[in-house]
């Protein structure tokens, strides 16, 4: 029932009525991104699936961790999409893409069974079948985006990120580049918010998603851990932790916050609770394309931090001592707050009777 003639989003008819989200967890991963997303509340999965946000098309989520269906009933949606009969859909990939070319038979990662050969259908085959048909592809987590842990030095599977596999200039049939939401695992609300943005875009309510050159949403990954960190003030004052468990800046014991693009310190992990360095965890750079190799060994100070923390030690030391003088001052109440018989606040009383004359 309309109560007004002013156009609002609730009356909006999205450009598409229904959209499917095909969420593949069979990259080389740990399913941590799916699990993480069940922790999201801004928005939550049920907000999106049950239509609690105005303007969106009806969303059908096909994720193996949450699906009602099993086996072939579940795989049906993948086959329909591959045949071009599921329109439109967003493909979400979780886990890194193995290199299936480096061996003569078998598989590193697969989902479902090929009816003709009786062999598993590899994740790579699914990507090859689905990528040309998808309206958008989103990579959830650092494995799918850049390869992550399973692509570290010495790995036997030749794992990589999806952009390494499809090409960094890949574009969907709708003209969209791959959208990368890194994180190991992905921060819950970062992932759901990106999905929500894309749904708005598909619905015709938002312009093309703004991405940086690593294909990350700019509003989420434009700042560093350090810029949002609770402990950044300690760094500025040259006050460093030398052991874990200290509330001071963690740079000297392995934190990479100053050079890592991630919003976890600002956003927290769940609804503001948690977030690595704020709680006492060194930042190991898990949202970065260079993760993990370029950050190891994790518990040593980053090589570049010696110079900057030395400079901050000198400069910050002076600032800190000056501030502590001021701090002592502002920690004292002004002198006019007392229970004495005279008023010393600076107010000039006119009607206090006999006792208040000057």
């Amino acid at each position: 029932m309309k109560i007004s003639t002013v156009p609002v989003q609730a009356d909006y008819k999205p450009a598409v009525k229904e959209i499917h989200v095909l969420w593949m967890t069979t990259g080389l991963g740990c399913d941590g991104d799916s699990v993480s997303v069940t922790a999201a509340s801004l928005p939550s999965i049920e907000d999106v699936v049950l239509g609690a946000i105005p303007g969106l098309p009806k969303v059908h989520l096909h994720n193996p961790v949450l699906a009602y269906e099993v086996g072939d009933d579940f795989m049906k949606w993948w086959h329909l999409a591959a045949e071009g009969k599921l329109e439109p859909f967003v493909l979400v990939l979780e886990g890194s893409v193995p290199n299936e070319k480096i061996k003569s038979e078998g598989y590193w990662a697969a989902m479902g069974t090929d009816a003709k050969t009786g062999q598993p259908i590899t994740t790579n085959e699914w990507v090859d079948r689905l990528a040309p048909k998808a309206t958008a592809i989103v990579c959830a987590g650092t494995c799918a985006t850049y390869g992550g842990i399973h692509a570290m030095e010495g790995n036997p599977t030749g794992a990589m990120g999806l952009a390494d596999y499809l090409g960094w200039n890949w574009k969907s049939k709708a003209g969209l580049p791959i959208v990368n939401v890194p994180g190991c695992p992905v921060q819950p609300d970062n992932m759901m918010e990106t999905l929500l943005y894309l749904l708005y875009q598909v619905a015709g309510l938002a312009p093309i998603i703004p991405l940086d050159d690593q294909l990350r949403p700019t509003w989420l990954f434009g700042k560093t851990v350090h810029e949002g960190c609770d402990r950044a003030g300690y760094y500025e004052q040259g006050d460093f932790a030398h052991e874990y468990g200290s509330p001071k800046c963690l740079v000297k014991i392995g934190c990479w916050g100053p050079v890592v693009n991630c919003n976890v310190t600002k956003r927290g992990w769940m609804d503001g609770v948690g977030g690595c360095p704020n709680v006492g965890g060194i930042c190991i750079g898990c949202t970065m394309p260079g993760f993990p190799d370029k950050f190891m060994p994790f518990m040593d100070a980053p090589p570049g931090s010696a110079v900057s923390s030395f400079a901050s030690g000198i400069y910050g030391g002076i600032i800190r001592s000056l501030r502590s003088i001021t701090n002592r001052t502002v920690n004292k109440e002004p002198k006019w707050r007392h229970a004495h018989a005279e008023l010393t606040t600076g107010y000039d009383p006119k009607y206090y009777g006999d006792g208040s004359t000057k």
């Binding site: 086996g71 599977t157 052991e243």
Partner: protein
């Protein structure tokens, strides 16, 4: 019939008559990881005749861990699992503590215990009610057993007063995915418990504040208050959930006589113990038996209802990693022996994780030969010379069983009695104090695995209450150290024993030249989801499903395999660490020229 079955010990159990129909489910959904279950079903006898469990992902942790700085081990191994990553991080830290010869300050141990308790509360909660629960929801029951649904409509819930649902059908409705009221409530509770985890360990699922030697968490009064307030809400929630699940599960025994056989197998349970007591645990191998027994969940191996051992040294030395049907080359006589004797002088087997060499060999899936990336962990029982296919029961049933029989734990909120475990939950805002008692059940089956999970949620809350009190005592006394400095030795070995949410977890570490020379984590699901080993012994899922009668009312054409799903999901499968079910439209084997699933088996 393929040789693989006639050669196996399992063959004798297999019914051989009637037309067998291939049915497979791949992937099995509502679990974490890639599991496939391939079966042959005798629809005349309404029984599963054969079952094969397969996993379709290989990543190679024990390979790329080599030559890395051992201090990186917990950061890397956390990533083995996206739901219980913190259990891996914790277990790795335990193994590192042993290797470096350090003991964290007590407050660090309480903080780790609080994190782990929150993890059990979260993970069992979301798995039980958002994943397993769907197998018992209105939609599913109507689709698979309309008769049972009719009965549920008429059956009053015995504990309606405690949980507010008048009939069993009301409970089932409430479990419908996304739309059910209880489904959505448990999703919220799973978020709150993860916040509790983040308060202690920074973030979920891969924690950021765990280190060998302690934690980086700043132990302010605030984090314990924030934890405790949420914990008490969970305690109140559990006073509703325990009676609710008791009503639901008891109803299945009543509605479907014989349901106790679903997912039933011989009682072969393993539990590696959980929650260290900082007053006793020093992480030395020498004292491992003593401090292991002081854990707030007692380690133990239960065979046919009897407790074989609670000694972590015995548990450690009995572990064997067998091959058989998996895609690896045998390291056999060529593999390097990294650890000949343990620090007590006992010989260590070549097939022990300390001495394992992982050599992946990708190949075609062939159910007559090799069909999965999961190896076959076994526990060698020297009394009988058996390689036991222990299962973890999804975690809780083994934990409660071992703890109950060992009769050691008593921390006020939880207490073992010899044949049960009592859990005391204090008064909360709207509910009085309550006591729940988990009694050792008659069977190790699907329903009892699920029931134990609910009781263990309450158990974990009880342990959390105790640990929170202990932690606050230290904070109030100003004893706020949370980290012990250490040096990585040139050469060392270590092992960690822990309970991941779904069961036993061990990490074995060998250090040479300050680098990792060998590292083998053994998570719970390989214990449950493994294939037939070199002796032909099937893995626990295979064994449990092979024994399962079918109660589903649908015939082969519309068959959902719900009883098989319930059997498998009761183990809390989680296979980033290895398994998939695929419903292969029902093919009669004799008439089949092998287009799909059980290729290899049907050749003969």
């Amino acid at each position: 019939m393929a040789d693989v079955l006639t050669n196996s010990k399992a063959a004798s159990k297999t019914p051989q008559s009637g037309k067998l129909v291939e049915m497979s489910w791949d992937p099995i959904t509502r679990i974490v990881g890639s599991l496939g279950i391939y079966t042959k079903i005798d629809f005349e006898k309404k029984r599963v005749a054969e079952c094969y469990s397969t996993s379709s992902i290989f990543r190679g942790y024990s390979i790329f861990m080599q030559n890395k700085d051992p201090r990186d081990a917990h950061f890397i191994t956390s990533r083995i699992c996206g739901i219980c990553g913190d259990n891996h991080a914790t277990c790795s830290v335990y193994a590192q503590n042993m290797a470096y010869g350090i003991k964290p300050p007590p407050l660090a141990e309480w903080i780790v215990n609080l994190g782990e308790a929150a993890e059990y509360m979260f993970d069992h909660n979301i798995f039980q009610d958002n994943l397993v629960g769907v197998d018992y929801c209105e939609l599913m029951v109507k689709e698979t057993n309309p008769g049972v649904w009719e009965k549920a409509l008429k059956t009053e819930a015995p504990h309606a007063k405690e949980h507010g649902f008048k009939t069993i059908a009301d409970i089932m409705k409430s479990l419908n995915p996304f739309e059910g009221e209880f489904y959505r409530e448990t999703l919220q509770v799973s978020r709150m418990t993860r916040e509790m985890f983040c308060l202690m360990e920074g973030r979920h699922v891969h924690p950021s504040t765990l280190y060998p030697g302690g934690v980086g968490t700043v132990p302010s009064i605030q984090i314990f208050t924030d934890f405790l307030v949420r914990l008490m809400k969970y305690v109140e929630f559990m006073k509703k959930v325990v009676p609710l699940h008791d009503d639901l599960f008891d109803f299945f025994y009543e509605a479907l006589p014989g349901y106790e056989q679903v997912g039933q197998r011989r009682i072969l349970l393993g539990c590696w113990g959980s929650f260290q007591d900082p007053d006793h645990c020093d992480y030395t191998y020498k004292n491992m038996d003593a401090w292991g027994k002081k854990m707030f969940v007692t380690p133990g191996i239960v065979v046919d209802g009897k407790l074989v051992t609670t000694n972590l040294v015995d548990i450690n030395l009995g572990i064997r990693i067998l091959l058989g049907s998996s895609y690896y080359e045998d390291w056999g006589d060529n593999g390097e022996v990294f650890v000949k004797n343990d620090p007590l002088g006992n010989p260590v087997d070549r097939r022990h994780p300390w001495n394992q060499t992982t050599i992946p060999k990708p190949q075609k899936r062939d159910f007559g030969k090799n069909y999965t990336w999961v190896m076959s962990p076994r526990w060698y029982d020297k009394r009988t010379d058996d390689y036991l296919a222990l299962d973890t029961g999804g975690g809780p049933i083994a934990r409660l069983w071992a703890t109950a029989l060992a009769n050691i734990v008593d921390i006020g909120y939880v207490k073992a009695t010899g044949n049960s475990v009592k859990i005391r939950l204090p008064k909360t805002a709207l509910k009085d104090e309550a006591e729940f008692e988990w009694k050792i059940p008659k069977w190790s089956n699907a329903i009892e695995r699920n029931r134990a999970r609910t009781y263990f949620q309450a158990y974990a809350a009880g342990v959390a209450l105790y640990c929170c009190e202990q932690a606050l005592k230290l904070v109030h006394a100003g004893k706020t150290e949370t980290f012990t400095p250490f040096k990585v030795p040139d050469e060392a070995i270590g092992c960690g024993f822990h309970e991941a949410v779904r069961g036993v977890l061990s990490h074995h570490l060998v250090i040479r030249n300050k680098k990792i020379a060998n590292y083998h984590p053994y998570p719970p699901t390989p214990w449950n989801a493994n294939p037939r080993d070199i002796y032909g012994t099937p893995g626990p899922y295979e064994d449990a499903v092979q024994n399962t009668p079918l109660f589903e009312e649908n015939g082969p054409d519309k068959f959902k395999g719900i009883d098989i799903m319930r059997a498998v999901r009761s183990f809390d499968p989680c296979l980033p660490c290895g398994v998939h079910m695929y419903l292969g439209g029902g093919k009669v084997l004799k008439e089949m020229h092998t287009p799909t699933a059980l290729q290899g088996l049907s050749k003969k």
